[in-house]
Subunit: 198 residues, 2 copies
Amino acid sequence: MRYSPLLAELIQALQCLPGVGAKSAQRMAFHLLERDREGGQRLAGSLAGALARIGHCRLCRNFTEQELCPVCASEQRDEAQLCVVETPADVAAIEQSTHYGGRYFVLMGRLSPLDGIGPGELGLDLLDQRLASGTVQELILATNPTLEGEATSHYIGELAGRYEVRVMRLAQGVPLGGELEYLDSGTLAHAFSQRREL
Amino acid sequence: MRYSPLLAELIQALQCLPGVGAKSAQRMAFHLLERDREGGQRLAGSLAGALARIGHCRLCRNFTEQELCPVCASEQRDEAQLCVVETPADVAAIEQSTHYGGRYFVLMGRLSPLDGIGPGELGLDLLDQRLASGTVQELILATNPTLEGEATSHYIGELAGRYEVRVMRLAQGVPLGGELEYLDSGTLAHAFSQRREL
C-alpha cells in the first residue's frame, strides 16, 4: 500500500548503489521525481550507455569505451615508466595528486586466493608481455599498503626480476599532517626503523 | 586525462542524486562497472520507466503511474478520514507506523511565499472540492511541526472551517524515548504547558 509498483521498483533498484539503503533510496527517488526529472533522465541514459559501451583498455585494463584509455592513447606519456595500481580509482588519485607522466597498469583487484583471485584474474600475463617487450625501464608498484596489496606487490616484483627493469615501491612512513600520538603502531614502528638522514 | 568521456559523464550524472558528491559518484560508477552491471542496467531501465510514467494521483496528488494511487484506489480505506501531509515520504512513514485506515491528501510541499509556493501550488483547490463534496468527516493535519508546516496547517484549518468537518492536528509534546535533559526548550515548554491528567 505504501508505493505504486513502478515507484517501489525504482526504490529497490537504487539500492544497488554502494552505501544506499532503503531510506536513502526513497529520498533519492522522491528527489528525482519531484525536483530533478531532467537530471534523472540524463542519469538513466548515461548509465545505460556507460554499461553497454565501457569495457577495459587493451593495454592497461583501465575502464574505457575505446580500445585504448586516454593515458595509453596519449603519445606524451612516457612508455619507460609503468605504474601498477589495484583500481581505476587509484589511477584517478595519482593523476590528481602527482605529476607522474608515465603509463599505468590496472590490476582490477589484488591477489586473494581465498576469493579465487589469482594472477590470471589480475591480467599478469598481459603485464608479463609488456615487461618482456623491453620498453619499460621503471616499474612502480603502487598497490595498497595492505596485507593483500603487499603480497601482490611482492609477487609482481618476483615476476619483474626476470627482466632488466628497476622495480620501485611507494615510500612508506608517517603521513603528512598526521600526529604521531594518533598513528597506528605498525606505521610508527616502520617509520622509526626506516628513519633517514635529514 | 583522468577518465574516458563516457565514464566522466556517468560520474557527473550520478551527482544529481541528493547527498552524492564527486567522490561517492566515482565510487558508485566504479562499483556498477566492476561488480554490478546487472543491477546498474536494472536501475537505468527502472529510472527511465519511472520518470516517463510516474505522475500524480488524480485525487490525492501522491506519486503513481496509474490514475489513482493504491490508497485512493482501495475500497477498504475510509473516505470519511482525510490526512493531509506535505510529502509522499510522510505517507510512507504514517503507513509504516500507524494503523490509519483513511485516505491522504499530499500537498507536495508547504506554504512558502518567498519560494513562490502558494495555495495553488499545493493543490488546495482540489482539497477544497474534496471537503465540499461532504464525504470527509475528519480532517487530520499532519504537516511538519515547523514554522512553515504550522502556517500551512493553520491555513488549511481556516479553509476547512467553512465545512462541517472535525479538524485535527497531530499531538505535540515530548517524543517517546527521549530524555528531557536533551530536549529543545521549545518542545519542553510546550509539553509542560499542555500537560494532561494521567
